[in-house]
Amino acid sequence: MCLAIPGQITELFADPHDAERNSLAMVDILGVRRKVSIDLLQDDPPGPGDWVLIHVGFAMSKISSERAAEQLEMLAMLGEASTARDELFDGMTNIE
């Protein structure tokens, strides 16, 4: 229901009305650049180099490359010997 895509932060900018605080970031999507608000990430502010998910001009969340690698690893295990795979699968599904 919501188009959101990954972009990498290249630069942070101070809030135009509050120089104390960075509220904007330039993100790069395959060489396409747009300034987005990072106010929704104020609890855990991102920095240059971080990947974020962008929706309607806002960074919605940080993207974890570790989690992404785990997911791909898990997918690569599909079709392998089933018990080892099942354990790995259960360990990674982030169930609380």
């Binding site: 229901m1 919501c2 188009l3 895509i5 972009g7 999507i29 395959l30 060489g31 396409v32 650049r33 747009r34 300034k35 962008i54 929706h55 309607v56």
Partner: protein, 339 residues
């Protein structure tokens, strides 16, 4: 005669002294050729032996200058390309201007020079035209209409009836650059990217193909508004055949892809001004690709897919992992979406 006015006024379209200054001071020196220089009511052209092709197009673009080109250059190349993909080389062209009162003369001069340059490059004389001026606020600076007359290549034999099951679909190069350049140049989206329009003449690329392959080229069209998807859908409709393309084969520059992802657009729907689709006989596909790739500007030409007979004629895209989808025709303008 000198065109010294600073701005276009209603008088420039009224047919009097101001019109004469505009025509004889600006258009005629820029486009100068024997037919135009006679300033008669019609250009006289000796018909050469062979078949003639004739086409007409109107150019309405905002902004009128954009990265990689401008309306004037587009107005010449657009018509040149319509002739080129019909297998023709241009013999003559006319140009009609609808100018908005208040337009700076400098902006007009820029476009006239761009047209003159593009016409020289394509080897086509601009032999006549017309100018009208509308009130301020009634046009986006200027509109240009061009009509082109061309001589069809001896070897060219094109048409939907010539397309057969088994034929291959070729694309001349990367797509989406023009439409994206225009969308970003409007600056409403606040997106920056180094995307240039691909506007260019296709005469050389198309001409070489006809020289080398002649009637093995079955159909050709430039993929302008509506993009590659629309052109292929028109072909499927006209031939009642099915077209299957390989999704990953479509050449798309990174920036264009990034902008499309961000705005939720399908690059297959985005306009081009310097790319064509050619349908060639299967056994000549490799040779055709080779010709294109060895011609300047055709380095990234590719084999996009093939044609077969099926119960329903339409365009299908197949991904490398076996997923298939229908490639639809563009409806209206491409609009950025958030969901």
């Amino acid at each position: 005669m000198e065109f010294y006015d600073k701005r276009i006024a209603m008088a420039h379209g009224a047919g009097g002294e101001a019109t004469r200054r505009l025509v004889e001071g600006l258009f005629q020196p820029a486009f100068s050729n024997p037919q135009l220089d006679s300033l008669s009511d019609a250009a006289i052209i000796e018909p050469p032996a062979g078949r003639l092709a004739m086409t007409s197009d109107s150019f309405v673009v905002q902004p009128i200058r954009f990265p990689g080109g401008s309306i004037g250059e587009l107005a010449v190349n657009g018509t040149v390309n319509d002739l080129a993909v019909s297998g023709a080389r241009p013999l003559a062209m006319t140009a009609t201007f609808v100018l908005e009162a208040g337009l700076s003369a400098e902006a007009l001069r820029w476009e006239v020079e761009a047209m003159a340059k593009a016409a020289r490059q394509a080897g086509v004389p601009i032999v006549g035209g017309d100018t009208k001026v509308v009130e301020h606020g009634k046009a986006d600076g200027m509109y240009i209409c061009t009509t082109g007359l061309g001589l069809v290549h001896r070897n060219a034999d094109l048409g939907p009836k010539r397309v057969e099951p088994g034929d291959r679909v070729l694309l001349s190069g990367p797509i989406g650059n023009h439409g994206m350049a225009i969308m970003l140049a409007r600056a409403e989206l606040d997106i920056e990217a180094d995307i240039q329009s691909d506007t260019r003449p296709l005469l050389e690329l198309a001409g070489r193909l006809f020289d080398a392959l002649g009637p093995s080229v079955h159909w050709m069209r430039d993929a302008t508004r509506g993009g590659v998807a629309t052109v292929l859908n028109e072909l499927a409709r006209d031939t009642e055949l099915r077209i299957t393309i390989a999704e990953e084969a479509v050449p798309i520059d990174d920036c264009v892809r990034g902008a499309c992802e961000l705005l939720g657009l399908d690059p297959l729907h985005v306009a081009n001004e310097g790319q064509f689709i050619a349908i060639v006989a299967a056994e000549q596909a490799e040779a055709a690709l080779d010709v294109l790739r060895r011609t300047a500007g055709g380095e990234r030409a590719c084999l996009l897919g093939e044609i077969d007979r099926a119960t329903i004629s339409r365009v299908i895209a197949r991904s490398s992992f076996g997923g298939t989808r229908v490639v639809d025709m563009l409806i209206g303008d491409p609009l950025p979406r958030i969901c």
